[in-house]
């Protein structure tokens, strides 16, 4: 025999099922929300950390660029200095340097020949000395001619003084 019920209602066990479903849904939703919030918070924190690290690395990169530029400038300066040093060394090591020239001139000028003046220009040298005779002048000219970095030796003047002969010589310097 069927029952007559004028209304359609949810049976009691459905009430309990709905309650259970509702409770479980709320709990799960809450857990899900908490989980999402936690994960999102962690992600935001990580993102902040990454941002901070990136900013720091950006600063470091700027510093690095500055240092690199400085280094390049210094390198360029260093290269210029090295070139200068090389040039100086080259000049120092050249046979035609001033010291060598003076040494050679000193060697040439013996006891009979007295050096009066020595004018060293860029490419040529003018020498004025006093010797006993013409032979001495030629002797000096020969000796100068024998020096490797000196050529084109010319006696440009001979002048008798009281008991000596003043002569002047010019020569070219080759590097």
């Amino acid at each position: 025999m069927n029952n007559i019920n004028f209304i359609k209602t949810i049976p009691p066990h459905r009430h309990y099922e709905i309650r259970r479903w509702f409770t479980v849904t709320i709990m799960l939703s809450s857990l899900l929300i908490i989980g999402i919030v936690y994960v999102q918070t962690m992600q935001i924190l990580r993102l902040n950390e990454a941002c901070a690290a990136f900013k720091k690395s950006q600063n470091d990169a700027q510093t690095y660029t500055e240092i690199l530029n400085q280094k390049n400038e210094l390198t360029k300066e260093c290269e210029i200095l090295k070139k200068k040093i090389l040039k100086a060394e080259c000049l120092t090591n050249q046979q035609c340097n001033l010291e060598n020239l003076l040494m050679h001139v000193k060697e040439i000028c013996t006891s009979s020949v007295h050096l009066e003046s020595l004018q060293i220009h860029k490419k040529n040298v003018e020498l004025v000395a006093v010797g006993p005779d013409v032979q001495a002048a030629f002797h000096v000219a020969d000796k100068l001619n024998k020096i490797t970095y000196i050529n084109n030796v010319k006696i440009i003047s001979l002048q008798h003084t009281q008991d000596a002969l003043r002569f002047s010589l010019t020569c070219a310097i080759t590097s």
Binding site: N3, I4, F6, P12, Y16
Partner: protein, 235 residues
């Protein structure tokens, strides 16, 4: 508005009959004496609060039922309503169809009602008897509004006769048959409530409250029938 409605796993029966409201709280106990009446109270309505089953004074009726619920701490229990009276359409009808549909019952009075039918017993010459009952929609709405005003979860709104039919079936349990029901109903001139006697009902229940069974027989039978209707153990 409640966020999540509370539930109390108790069943409260409320019977509305002319000038009377009966509230009872019944629980299942054991197979030998299956029902235990925890609470039972009859309210007499003398000032036309309930006339032709129309609730004229819902405040008073709500107060009466709420006082019962409050007294026995039955807030948010499940409620079963049974209604009887002139405002309700009830009829025993003979039909030639064994399994008729609602279209087979062409009763004009039912057109504006919420109604249903139930098979009772067979007759000779391939005729079948059905119990048809209907309630006007506005009246049903009144009872639903009343239930809404009460702290209960309404489960059923039915007629007293339907509750008694259930009690009859429970009384006969395994030996129940429709032909015997027909005989018994015919014997009591279609008044099934005359079938139940104190002797028949008494073994079915125990009670905490003192009940004058002679006086309360009809209401008690209705209450038991209502409870049986929702008691799953019955099936």
């Amino acid at each position: 508005m409640r966020f999540m409605p509370s539930i109390k796993n108790e069943i409260v029966n409320v019977s509305f009959s002319p000038q009377t409201i009966v509230c009872s709280w019944i629980k299942y106990r054991s197979a030998s004496q299956p029902y235990h009446i925890n609470a039972y109270q009859r309210f007499q309505l003398k000032n036309l609060e309930l006339e032709k089953q129309i609730i004229f004074n819902p405040t008073h009726i709500t107060r009466l039922i709420t006082s019962f619920l409050k007294k026995y701490h039955l807030h948010n229990a499940f409620a079963l309503f049974s209604v009887t009276g002139t405002g309700i359409f009830e009829e025993i009808i003979t039909c030639t169809e064994a399994s008729p549909t609602q279209q087979h019952f062409n009763i004009p009075a039912l057109k504006k009602m919420v109604w249903d039918y139930v098979y009772l017993y067979p007759l000779d010459q391939a005729r079948y008897t059905f119990y048809i009952c209907g309630i006007p929609q506005e009246l049903l709405l009144q009872y639903l509004l009343l239930a809404n005003a009460l702290p209960v979860n309404i489960l059923t709104v039915t007629t007293q006769h339907m509750a008694l039919l259930n009690l009859y079936r429970k009384l006969h349990s395994s030996s129940f048959n429709h032909s015997q029901l027909g005989v018994d109903i015919a014997k009591h001139h279609n008044n099934l409530h005359d079938y139940f006697t104190p002797k028949l009902i008494e073994p079915m229940f125990s009670s905490d409250v003192a009940i004058n069974l002679e006086q309360e027989l009809l209401f008690l039978s209705t209450a038991l029938g209502l409870f049986i209707m929702r008691d799953t153990r019955y099936e």
